[in-house]
């Protein structure tokens, strides 16, 4: 079946008007909420800092200051009302989600 055009979707919906929504952040809050929830559910402690059991490889990675600040900010938000999350764990969770989503 051919992909539906925007015009066709508008006709099917009987929409009176349509306009593009340009910003990708439109989808970001639900996406990040899902990542946070998934990470909080999988973090477990065996005496040390809580971690995800299948994350077995440990590597040092460099970040830009700007990126690290963003990760730190997310980690603080994700830690509220649950297990403490580190900026690196946020990064690992995002990379994991992107990989699972099908990036080549």
């Amino acid at each position: 079946m051919a992909r539906l055009s925007k015009e066709k979707i508008g006709t099917l919906l009987r929409a009176k008007h349509r306009e593009p929504v340009k910003t990708p952040l439109y989808y970001a809050p639900p996406f990040l909420d899902e990542l946070r929830k998934g990470l909080q559910e999988r973090l477990a402690s065996r005496g040390g800092r809580p971690t995800v059991s299948e994350w077995e490889v440990v590597r040092k990675t460099r970040y830009s200051k700007k990126t690290w600040q963003w990760l730190a900010q997310l980690a603080e938000q994700w830690s509220q009302g649950g297990v403490s999350v580190s900026p690196s764990q946020v990064a690992a969770r995002i990379v994991e989600a992107v990989h699972r989503a099908g990036v080549r």
Partner: protein
């Protein structure tokens, strides 16, 4: 280059779901009177779950300029609402003309029965006003 092109440029390939559908459910009528949006939220979750194999709702606050379904602004004020967003990630085989029509029918019923100037649905980065 829009953001979708940018994502393709940096190596993203098509995902297992091909479309994003977001329905916006207001909790106030066109005169600013609140109503119970929860039954509509449940109905939307059931509908989108059946049509698209899944749906997730998010409570959110929104501010909106009053406008009709043609986009014309009806007054200069902004209305604050407790909007519910019903989000579905949809695989291509489920993205059918019948499914789109059914969502449209549901939103028009919401518009009529809760006395809205307009209701909105986002499909793949395009906002449709009904």
């Amino acid at each position: 280059m829009d953001w979708l092109d940018l994502l393709r440029e940096i190596g993203f390939s098509p995902l297992s779901y091909a479309h994003v559908v977001i329905a916006y459910l207001p909790n106030k009528d066109k005169n600013g009177k609140e109503f119970d949006v929860e039954p509509w939220e449940t109905a939307a979750l059931k509908l989108q779950g059946r049509l698209f194999r899944g749906a997730t709702s998010y409570p959110s606050r929104g501010s909106y300029r009053r406008s009709d379904e043609t986009g014309a602004i009806s007054d200069a004020g902004a209305m604050i609402e407790q909007t519910r967003m019903i989000v579905s990630f949809v695989a291509e085989p489920d993205f059918t003309e019948e499914a789109i029509k059914e969502i449209g029918g549901f939103l028009r019923r919401l518009k009529r029965e809760t006395r809205q100037d307009a209701v909105a649905l986002v499909v793949d980065g395009e906002m449709y006003y009904l």
